[in-house]
Symmetry: C2
Subunit: 403 residues, 2 copies
């Protein structure tokens, strides 16, 4: 029998009722596959624990943070395994240290390095359904660690990798990946198949289905992921390698951001290292810089530099730039109401004229493009925030995503 | 430096504020001792987790129960260690499996068999303050177990034993052990010193300070226990071996029970095994039989048998007796409003006339004694419940416990 990994997110196991519901899903898969389950903490638990740690101290130590929050998965997994056992299945919970799942790296931001398969394989062979705590690990000294970015998704992908699973199904509270944010457009369609690369662009650009790190892990290890809902019985979105996808659409999806701010420094001295001198202090202050555009300087002496940040970082950014004597410029101008709208699709590699079609569609709606940035499978433009939803709508139609 | 074990109960770590409070207590001890801390789960947590397991299933498996509820101590210990570290002390949490604390016996009712001291000793020598999760253990297959009766108290006593601690201080929400229940009598006094044996009689008779099993563990291993409050800074009660105690009182304390029922079987056939045939089915149905009195049969053919149970077991008990054909008797009579009042004290061994004084004091108050039962350091009488508080009051005065 093939191995399948089922991962349930926090809302999927968010109540006793929900735990009973997902038990049925697990049971039905157990008839055809050897099933390995990964579970997140019940929704709300992790935040509650984090809040307690914050009330204890602003300097709550990272090692105790990991011990504290991993209790959440201990609770959800024992409840889930307990229910499966109570309805007659051979199931038990496995904490990361019981397997063990060995991590490396710092507390709070560990990565899974190695999974000892022997105990789980033995349990699977006896017909058992292991319920493995996601998000957790242990380092080589048996300290409890947690997987920072990606969390339980990352655990599921790595378990799928080590156990050579046929597929990894990520159960969540959305039905899959959509052509654009369903909260912003009514005519969205669920994407049936999407490549890792497209999904990476979608995820980092605002789709909140899966963390980019987990998708990257899946891409590197060629794990087929299906994202689907544990609330309704419908097929979801398959995330797989590019060549598995037959798609007649040029564009797979559209993403847009809110709350971006654009900062332009006019008359920046054009010398090597100038960009670094601006972005280093921003990075040190945890300000995430997104798009960066620098024009060629006309006279070879000074240039204009534009970049985007989150709007709520704007004041902090201005302060840093004004205070830093190394940053020489003539004038700082900003706009705190811009949005980045991106079209994503592997189809654009082989299809000429996509850029033109995008710009033309926006022009027809009288939407002014301020900044342009492109990659192999993505074109992003910066526009006024008030035009964002109009832009998404017209591009969605232009590239026939509603069909 | 000597080792001291501090154990904090659920109410002592019941909130962030409380955790900060007990951190101060720990800090002050750490100046004079090598401190090992044991902590219970925050009050309310364990019950919340147990309720979730009950909602999952009436047949929630015992192994998952242990994994589930032990998450409570994981939370409290990481918060406490996190706070100590944040205020600059060298402290970290230790789950049972990280030490490990090895248990034997069934899930939910495990007993600590062995504690591997090496890691904790190394940490203590580095000036560290280990915060050990009470109530938890692991069996030899690395399954999570919990210590049934006694719970975290039992963990603390066993840690004190293995590390040869100078003393084990049990911090709780009462100031110590009293001459009788403070809720029932105003003139109670806190007992300064009490022997293990007296404490065992006090505990099993209604004082809820410590579980009898933990006291028994302490007695067997000669661990000096101090019971005191984490809420007020006052000396508590020292529980120690008999010869350490200088006490000029004959009686150390008085206990009384509520909600007892007395059952008498008249005309029971007087043959070997008759008592067993009655008590076996009761025990099989988890009905706890307390006092048992059987009179010598006058004619050698039949006798009367009296025993006490908890009042809410009365209906079940009657059913079992009527249904069981092996139990032959003429008539069953019962009284569901009786109380057992006991006087406890090692002093009575060497002091004649204690029994007489007790009976005389009760007679003066017109309190009728229904059943009498005695041990080396205890005399118990069964009386009507309505007389219980009057009895406790007059005995408390008779034996000068209010002085």
């Amino acid at each position: 029998m093939k191995i399948i990994v089922l991962k349930f997110g926090g809302t999927s196991v968010g109540s006793i009722q929900r735990i009973k519901k997902v038990s049925k899903i697990i049971k039905s898969y157990s008839k055809k596959y050897r099933v390995i389950v990964l579970s997140s903490a019940m929704s709300g638990t992790t935040n509650k624990l984090i809040n307690m740690s914050k009330k204890i101290s602003e300097n709550f130590p990272d090692n105790e943070y990991d011990t504290l929050v991993s209790a959440g998965e201990q609770i959800s997994c024992s409840l889930l395994a307990g229910h499966l056992a109570a309805i007659g299945l051979n199931s038990r919970s496995w904490m990361a240290w019981q397997i063990p799942i060995i991590t490396e790296g710092k507390h709070k931001y560990s990565r899974i390095k190695y999974i000892n398969k022997s105990k789980i394989l033995k349990f699977l062979k006896s017909g058992g359904i292991p319920i493995i705590a996601g998000f957790q690990g242990v380092d080589k000294y048996l300290n409890i660690t947690t997987i920072g970015r990606g969390g339980s998704d990352s655990s599921a992908i790595m378990v799928a990798k080590f156990f050579k699973a046929d597929r990894c199904i990520i159960y969540t509270d959305v039905e899959g990946v959509y052509t654009t944010d369903p909260n912003k457009l009514n005519s969205v369609k669920k994407i049936k198949n999407i490549s890792y690369e497209e999904m990476l662009e979608m995820a980092s650009l605002g789709s909140k289905v899966m963390q980019p790190d987990s998708i990257q892990d899946a891409r590197l290890n060629r794990i087929n992921i299906e994202v689907k809902s544990s609330f309704v019985n419908k097929s979801g979105t398959l995330i797989t390698k590019r060549k598995n996808i037959i798609n007649n659409k040029i564009i797979t999806g559209i993403s847009s951001t809110d709350n971006d701010a654009k900062v332009t420094l006019l008359g920046v001295k054009d010398r090597p290292g100038i960009a670094a001198s601006i972005f280093k202090p921003l990075s040190q202050n945890s300000i995430n810089v997104d798009m960066v555009v620098q024009n060629i300087s006309a006279d070879g002496k000074q240039t204009d530099l534009t970049f985007t940040i989150k709007s709520n970082d704007l004041n902090k950014t201005k302060k840093i730039i004004y205070k830093n004597e190394n940053i020489v410029f003539k004038k700082l101008i900003f706009d705190k109401n811009v949005s980045k709208v991106s079209i994503i699709g592997v189809g654009m590699i082989t299809t000429p004229g996509v850029t033109f079609r995008m710009f033309q569609a926006l022009a027809r709606k009288n939407i002014n493009i301020q900044v342009i940035s492109t990659s192999e499978i993505k074109i992003s433009v910066l526009i006024k925030s008030k035009n964002a939803s109009k832009a998404v709508k017209c591009l969605h139609k232009e590239f026939k995503l509603d069909k």
